[in-house]
């Protein structure tokens, strides 16, 4: 059971060799024990999980199973789920029980998936190491002294430690791909608009996008099939015909043109990471792919552009946490303004406050043109680079993160160093493109390296095909952290 993929679990459940309840109990047990050591979950609720598992068993008995029916899925605590505490990693929402389901939750529930719990995350998804969570840092199963990446660190660690067969996450600047890379699992960020943002707590609305975590590319496709789809409640959701993301998995990738942006291999990349990526490229050549060098000249601007736009949007998105209607309110205050000040001073952590302050400044009178408007223009240039590059190649390959997992506490004192760990992922969000990270090797310390595949708009099926083909001839994705099997 430990290493079952969604596909394999589906076969076992359909053959009734195992019940949903048994599967749920098995993974719940792991989540409650090893998960606790790793601090991967914020909320577990055995009763709710088992109730869904029983319902899934009924669906299977009635022949109404989908590929996800009875499969336990861990949800990032950014998704509102009816009746579940939904904290977004913050003290501010420590007492918030959602009265409604996010679209992504609705879709997973409708497919018969079993909600295993709510995974830990950086507070309001602001972080690259899962250290900003009010509920404490998540530990990387490959080395518990290191971070799992962030902000979806709990989901990534849960897959790596086999606490759940699959999980959801969100990616604003790399928050799915970077933790997938640092934790040695697969994670996909779809094209902006493919998954509805309704019920997904907003960080930076124009960048936020939900996506799946799993052990294999095939499982990512199966989970994305459930998560994706038009939702009229999100005006940025794209109205397109439903896709089967598994449809191209088995295709040969002979003749595939792979673009390697020279900027991805310049200074800043750790030698072990560069070596792993080079070996991966050799594998792809063996599979019949051709390699072209390409250039993304404006990519270097993506980190500064992101740290103008994302905090600007966040400063406004987080204004609703004011202690008036729900969530945390300071216990003592003298008047309205004092209540606002104390509630927000006490309810938000340091990184969230930093970004609210940066964002407020960026939007202020006299600075808006110089920062926000300029950043919007550069965002366009960054996106245009990709348009040019995709005339020369089918997909872009490169590292997901410049280094492997770093030590807990190593970068917390230097936010800029922390921000640079998303240097290869942020441009993809700014352009609204899809990106995927899959394991492709290890560094000298035995920590996983992630390969990033960036596709053109709506290129998810193609990216999954490429990842799947790679996983047919390599076994990096099957490696497990040493302690996990225990």
């Amino acid at each position: 059971m430990l290493n079952f993929t969604i596909r394999q679990l589906g076969v076992e459940l359909a053959a009734k060799r195992v019940s949903s309840v048994e599967v749920a109990r098995y993974f719940f047990q792991r989540a409650a024990t090893l998960g606790k050591t790793l601090n991967a979950f914020i909320t577990l609720d055995e009763e709710k999980t088992l109730a869904q598992a029983r319902a899934a068993d009924a669906l299977i008995a009635n022949g109404k199973a989908t590929p996800l029916t009875g499969v336990p899925i861990a949800h990032k605590d950014i998704f509102c789920a009816k009746g579940w505490r939904t904290t977004c990693g913050s003290k501010m929402l420590s007492n918030f029980t959602s009265p409604y389901d996010a679209h992504v939750i609705e879709r997973c529930n409708a497919a018969g998936a079993v909600m295993l719990g709510k995974t830990n995350m950086d507070e309001f998804a602001m972080g690259s190491s899962n250290e900003t969570s009010f509920y404490g840092p998540v530990r990387n199963p490959w080395n518990i002294e290191t971070v799992p990446g962030g902000s979806s660190g709990g989901s990534a660690a849960a897959i790596a430690a086999r606490l759940a067969p699959a999980a959801t996450g969100t990616d604003t600047g790399g928050s799915i791909r970077q933790p997938a890379a640092l934790s040695g699992v697969c994670g996909l960020k779809p094209t902006y608009g493919v998954c509805s943002r309704y019920g997904m707590i907003a960080f930076a609305s124009s960048l936020d996008q939900a996506g799946p975590f799993a052990k294999t590319a095939e499982d990512l496709a199966l989970l994305l099939n459930a998560m994706a789809g038009f939702d009229a409640r999100d005006s940025t959701s794209l109205e397109r015909a439903p896709e089967d993301y598994t449809r191209d998995l088995a295709q040969s990738i002979k003749g595939l043109r792979i673009g390697l942006p020279k900027e991805f291999f310049a200074e800043g990349i750790a030698p072990d990471v560069a070596r792993a990526i080079e070996q991966t490229i050799v594998e792809f050549k063996k599979l019949g792919a051709a390699v072209v060098e390409v250039s993304l000249p404006n990519m270097k601007l993506s980190v500064p552009v992101y740290y103008v736009l994302a905090p600007a949007e966040a400063s406004s998105n987080l204004a609703r946490y004011d202690g008036v209607r729900y969530g945390y309110r300071a216990p003592a205050y003298v008047d309205l303004i004092d209540m606002y000040k104390k509630t927000r001073a006490q309810g938000f952590g340091a990184e969230v406050k930093r970004r609210i302050l940066i964002g407020t400044y960026m939007l202020s009178h006299g600075y808006y043109d110089a920062y926000y408007l300029k950043a919007q223009k550069l965002r366009r240039l960054i996106a245009d680079d990709f348009v040019t590059v995709f005339k020369q190649c089918d997909v872009i390959l490169g590292p997901t993160a410049p280094t492997t997992a770093f030590k807990i506490g190593e970068k917390t004192a230097d936010p800029v160093q922390m921000y640079l760990s998303d240097i290869y992922t942020i441009a993809v969000n700014l352009a609204g493109l899809p990106g995927i990270s899959i394991p492709c090797g290890f560094d000298g310390k035995g920590l996983p390296v992630g390969l990033q595949i960036i596709g053109n708009y709506f290129g998810e099926a193609k990216m999954l095909n490429i990842a799947h083909q790679y996983q047919q001839v390599t076994d990096w994705h099957t490696r497990m952290p040493p302690e996990t099997a225990a």
């Binding site: 998704f79 509102c80 907003a202 005006s235 406004s316 204004a319 609703r320 729900y326 606002y340």
Partner: protein
């Protein structure tokens, strides 16, 4: 020094959609607090706005009705500030790119006509309400109104008196409530409220003075009083050698004064930026044409037609203040053989309106039909009765009360005009004898005194004397 007042108005008209501008909750007024506030309205974590097409359609109707430019692309922006009745911590509005630009509105002030230019009109959401009175030491928040669609209509500073400002507000009210029906116009419930920007400058100056904004004027009377007070206040300050500080002021109707709310120095920085949750609003040519095809006829078309009958425009204006009286007037003037339309107009504007006001009813509920109005007119024309309001008012009241048709009530109340020279002469003589002072004044050249004497005769005959004959007789007797 002579001063000139300059006024521009910002008007918030609540749009009459069934649901809110960004959520499916109802917009009905008066429900129990917070029963019409959805997850979106109370800004739960994770919720998102979805634009109500009905609100956009109403904005387009407005644009078409005032000959404005309907922008094919407009942008929703967030206006950020903290207040307990603003659930998201920002209001979704339109800032740099509104849906409607330009336009104009004709107004009538007394017997003067004027065109006021419009700057823009944009869509936005209303905030909730803070209830400070009902809870001891605490404030209650009612979010039923949060998210109600508003059209904010901004005029150019084209008005130069409180009367003009009121005429503009009334013309705008008539446009949105009566003509295109996009707003219920209930000012007490806040469905139509004005902010007035007021400044003064030396007469003849081209430079605008420093302005103050008076917020939330929710009746025409308060609008007029507030502007009058504010202009007086500013002139007093300037004449004492002082300067006007740009500020936002509140009008207190109990004290009839405006008070400072906040000065420009502590004006908030709203940090406007495009709302990333809402793509730019695109309006297609086809959609505009569909809306245009369904536009109700302009009240001003009917007004022009009435003016073309030879009725002065200020009377035509009074005949077309609402959709209902426009329909009434249009129908009445389609009746053939009315050689003196102004006389018919006078019956509607005078005694009929007086009766409607007394009964607090609109003209479509009138118990005197337009045919009966024409009957009265015919009796004036054939000199059966005089046109004096004491006579026509009596006829209208009696017909209203179901006492019979026009001829029957004329008979019943003995309203027939006195054309008998002997009878009139007797009364004229009595009036001359009783008013030596007026006669002396008339002889000293005061024409007014003559009119007073005619009035006396009419009064003595309860309006039944033929005024022409009274005139003739009086002049003859006084040697005028």
């Amino acid at each position: 020094m002579k001063w000139e007042i300059v006024i521009g108005l910002e008007t918030h008209a609540q749009l009459s959609t069934v649901s809110k501008i960004f959520s499916g909750a109802s917009t009905a007024f008066g429900a129990a607090p917070n029963t019409q506030a959805s997850a979106v309205d109370i800004a739960l974590p994770g919720v998102l706005p979805v634009l109500n097409k009905g609100a956009v359609e109403r904005a387009i109707r407005f644009g078409l009705a005032v000959n404005a430019r309907i922008n094919r692309r407009s942008v929703f922006a967030r206006k950020n500030y903290f207040y307990p009745d603003l659930p998201k911590g920002y209001q979704i509005s339109q800032y740099e790119l509104p849906i409607i630009s330009g336009g104009k509105l004709d107004i009538v002030v007394g017997e003067q006509q004027k065109t006021v230019r419009l700057t823009r009109a944009h869509l936005e959401e209303d905030a909730g309400k803070s209830l400070h009175e009902d809870f001891h030491g605490m404030s209650g928040i009612d979010l039923n109104r949060a998210g109600t669609p508003l059209l904010e209509i901004v005029s150019e500073p084209d008005m130069c008196s409180a009367e003009e400002a009121v005429a503009y507000a009334k013309a705008l009210h008539r446009k949105v409530v009566e003509e295109i029906e996009i707003c219920d116009g209930n000012m007490e419930e806040g469905s139509f409220r004005c902010d007035a920007n007021v400044s003064v400058r030396p007469h003849g100056s081209n430079k605008l003075g420093m302005r103050c904004e008076i917020k939330n004027l929710n009746s025409f009377r308060f609008l007029e009083q507030a502007i009058k007070f504010e202009a007086w206040r500013q002139i007093e300050i300037l004449e004492d050698g002082g300067t006007i500080i740009q500020e936002t002021r509140l009008y207190d109707p109990d004290k009839n004064e405006t008070r400072s709310m906040r000065s420009k120095e502590d004006a908030m920085d709203y940090r406007y930026f495009p709302d990333p949750d809402l793509p730019p609003l695109q309006v297609s040519e086809q959609w505009i044409e569909e809306i245009r095809a369904k536009m109700p006829s302009a009240l001003d078309v009917a007004k022009e037609k009435i003016i073309s009958l030879g009725i002065p425009f200020y009377k035509a204006d009074l005949l077309t203040t609402t959709r209902a009286n426009t329909n009434f007037s249009t129908q009445i003037f389609s009746i053939p053989n009315i050689s003196n339309p102004e006389a018919v107009a006078n019956l509607i504007i005078g005694p009929l309106n007086a009766k409607l006001n007394e009964e607090k009813l609109t003209i479509d509920k009138s118990k005197v039909s337009l045919y009966q109005i024409v009957d009265i007119y015919r009796r004036i024309e054939d000199k059966t009765i005089s046109a004096s309001t004491s006579v026509t008012g009596t006829v209208i009241s009696a017909v209203w009360n179901g006492e019979g048709d026009v001829d029957e009530v004329i008979e019943k109340y003995g309203l027939k005009q006195i054309s008998d020279i002997g009878t009139i002469e007797k009364i004229v003589d009595q009036v001359i004898a009783a008013n030596p002072k007026s006669i002396a004044e008339f002889k000293a050249g005061k024409e007014k005194a003559f009119n007073a004497l005619v009035g006396q005769v009419m009064k003595a005959t309860q309006g039944k004397a033929n005024p022409e004959q009274v005139n003739k007789l009086l002049r003859k007797k006084l040697g005028g």
